[in-house]
């Protein structure tokens, strides 16, 4: 078994807002091995981004607050680190790419300057080294005329190009983990595919582990080894990609997979979509947060929140109902 890189246990993050306390993340646990790619899926607002930002203490504080949990990176708890210590990790050993390439680059700074910052900071390169490394990085992510384009500003790049720059920037210091927060959501479908392909290629070259956040289960299938499904600030199912697609066990996962258009299917199935809205959690859920929208809902679901329990090799699910039989497990 490969070495464990990141082990997150019982992570809880809340936001104090004028409308009340929002329980965004309510006890998330997952782990990541060297070179492994973990897909994190779930509807908008289920806490995917906040979970990952919390790991690097990047949630805005205030209003955010990490109230519980540990995040051990190579045996050291990131959440207990001083600002100085965690800055060494950020961008150096764990790097992030964000959803919207249009807003995630600084509009008044040249691409070259933005690329150079982590290189100077973490690798301590000289000016000349920084420049050649920057060019190399841009070429690596497929940006033509890289040397000239260093002095351009973000608005002179297309959306896809900017996301390539973000990826180049994130990988510039050879991080052990890349956290990609919906890196393709804001892009055209063709560009999306190119970005996924690029990351897969770079993963082969550099061997970093990846956390890939998305609500596109199609993308997850092509890139991830393992998938965690989130709902209401919890991970409600976790499995290897194959197992998850073959035998999804949580009603929510079944719903998600059902709403995937099945192109290869001969007869077009009616798309199954999950009725209802994801919850905004002003209270920490004491019952299963999915119960109001669940087809398999049982009496117990309204009173007790299920914990993640193993249902197979590396396959865990948090549900009281056995979705095969419809009865309680």
């Amino acid at each position: 078994m490969a070495n464990e890189l990141l082990n997150v246990q019982g992570l809880e993050t809340r936001f104090k807002t004028p409308e009340g306390l929002i329980h965004a993340v309510n006890g998330v646990s997952f782990h990541l091995k060297e070179g492994e790619t973990l897909g994190v899926v779930g509807e908008s607002g289920c806490g995917k981004s906040v979970s990952m930002l919390s790991v690097l203490k990047l949630v805005p504080m205030p209003p955010g607050e990490i109230v519980a949990g540990t995040a051990e990176f190579k045996g050291k708890d990131l959440l207990k680190m001083t600002n100085e210590e965690i800055r060494q990790v950020r961008g150096g050993q764990i790097a992030m790419v964000f959803q919207d390439p249009m807003t995630s680059l600084n509009p008044v700074m040249t691409i070259g300057k933005q690329l150079e910052e982590p290189l100077m900071l973490h690798l301590g390169l000289t000016k000349a080294q920084v420049r050649s490394r920057s060019i190399e990085l841009l070429e690596q992510v497929g940006i033509p005329r890289a040397a000239e384009r260093l002095k351009d500003y973000p608005h002179q790049y297309s959306g896809g190009m900017r996301q390539r720059v973000m990826i180049a920037m994130a990988l510039s210091c050879n991080p052990q983990i890349l956290i990609a927060d919906e890196p393709t959501t804001a892009l055209d479908v063709t560009i999306q595919a190119q970005i996924v392909e690029l990351v897969i290629k770079l993963r082969e070259q550099l061997g970093m582990a990846i956390v890939w956040i998305t609500h596109d289960l199609g993308v997850v299938a092509s890139i991830a080894h393992r998938v965690a499904v989130m709902y209401g600030g919890f991970i409600i199912e976790e499995a290897n990609v194959k197992d998850l697609y073959k035998s999804p066990s949580h009603p929510y996962t079944i719903g998600l997979l059902g709403s995937l258009p099945q192109i290869q299917a001969q007869t077009r199935q009616r798309l199954y979509s999950i009725d209802g809205m994801p919850p905004v959690l002003y209270k920490k859920p004491q019952a299963c947060p999915f119960a109001p929208r669940c087809k398999w809902v049982l009496e117990r679901c309204w009173h007790e929140n299920p914990r993640l329990e193993p249902v197979g090799e590396g396959h865990r699910v948090a549900c009281w109902a056995d979705t095969k039989s419809g009865s309680e497990r």
Binding site: L53, P62, Q88, G91, N106, E117, L121, H122, Y153
Partner: protein, 354 residues
């Protein structure tokens, strides 16, 4: 960048043309005889003289002819001597000040510039600095103080503040005084030993090594400065604070933090330049407010700048001087807007490169 500045400079004459057409256009509401006041130094002794002026400057002719002669003046066919002509700096003769309008501008404008500099520079730097601190330390005492300051500051009219300050510091305490400088200082400044390098008294006094005069000038200016900058400080703090708060929520700030940059670098190098953009726009607009404020403030504190000159002229129904000042203020506005646009382009590549 150079291209951008050249393009903007080419616009200056166009805008000035518009401004002058509007001002001259307004004069068309008057009759030819009244318009002749633009060109006569004294009240005309007889009607023949007035008729002569009307003929000479085509005051009874269509607008474009009048405008042209006003702009370029009239050349005497015999002596070749030019009379009038705004383009040549002849804005007419001020009856109320008994000197050519251009001379009023020449002597008074440096005083106003000095006042404006002492107002704008501290105002911008303190306003921006305090606004940033308030945003970065949101909801702490720094923030509360800055917010209280800006609420009080924006709900208090300039002239009320000016008068209050005048009553307290000038009448009651006698710390500061109105006017430009004390008599003894005036004597020194007029003496041949005192060299006027810049015509800005505070700077010249330092260059001449006369710290007593510098201090004297500052004591005369401090109240007008306070009054002029008071409201704007408050607004700058508020705008800078909210702009900075908004910027700190932007994705690229999270990106910068995710790179491992220190909080200082994140704030000063990534957030601040972006948060400055609305301030630059506002600085441009507040020049307009400043020109208005200068008229009131210079009058209240009896400070000899162009604001007071304009107010004096208007109070004496001196049309010629008022028009001259209006054109000149228009010119200043255009130039300061140009400076603001250039600064905007310096900060924001999206403007510069479009």
């Amino acid at each position: 960048m150079t291209n951008y500045i050249i393009r903007r400079l080419l616009l200056v004459p166009v805008i000035l043309f518009g401004v002058s057409v509007i001002i001259m256009g307004m004069l068309q509401l008057l009759g030819p005889i009244e318009r002749s006041a633009l060109y006569v130094k004294d009240f005309p002794k007889n009607d023949r003289q007035v008729d002569g002026i009307i003929k000479k400057y085509a005051l009874d002719r269509p607008f474009h002819e009048q405008y042209w002669r006003w702009l370029t003046g009239v050349k005497d066919p015999v002596t070749g001597h030019r009379e009038g002509g705004v383009l040549y700096g002849d804005f007419g003769y001020s009856r109320s000040a008994s000197q050519p309008v251009i001379d009023i501008i020449r002597t008074r404008f440096p005083n106003t510039v000095e006042l404006a500099l002492w107002t704008v520079v501290p105002m911008l730097s303190i306003g921006i600095w305090l606004g940033i601190k308030a945003a970065v330390y949101q909801n702490t005492w720094v923030d509360q103080l800055a917010r209280m300051f800006s609420i009080v500051g924006t709900s208090f009219p300039t002239f009320v503040f000016g008068l209050l300050v005048l009553i307290l510091f000038y009448a009651k305490l006698g710390w500061f005084m109105p006017g430009k400088m004390s008599d003894w200082a005036n004597q020194v400044v007029r003496s041949p030993q005192f060299v006027n390098y810049t015509k800005l008294l505070t700077i010249d006094s330092l260059l001449n090594g006369r710290f007593d005069i510098f201090w004297d000038a500052l004591r005369h200016m401090i109240l007008p400065i306070l009054t002029l900058s008071y409201i704007n400080w408050a607004t700058y703090v508020r705008v800078m604070r909210s702009s900075m708060l908004e910027t700190l929520r932007m994705d690229y700030v999270t990106t910068a933090r995710a790179k491992g940059l220190t909080e200082g670098v994140v704030i000063n190098q990534h957030a601040r330049p972006n948060a400055m953009l609305p301030i630059v726009t506002m600085a441009g607009m507040s020049v307009v407010g400043l020109l208005g404020g200068v008229i009131i403030t210079e009058t209240v504190f009896n400070y000899p700048g162009i604001g007071k000159a304009t107010a004096d002229a208007a109070a004496n129904l001196d049309v010629v001087t008022t028009i001259g000042m209006a054109i000149f203020s228009g010119f200043i506005l255009i130039i300061s807007n140009l400076i603001v646009d250039v600064m905007y382009a310096v900060i924001d590549p999206r403007v510069r490169l479009s």
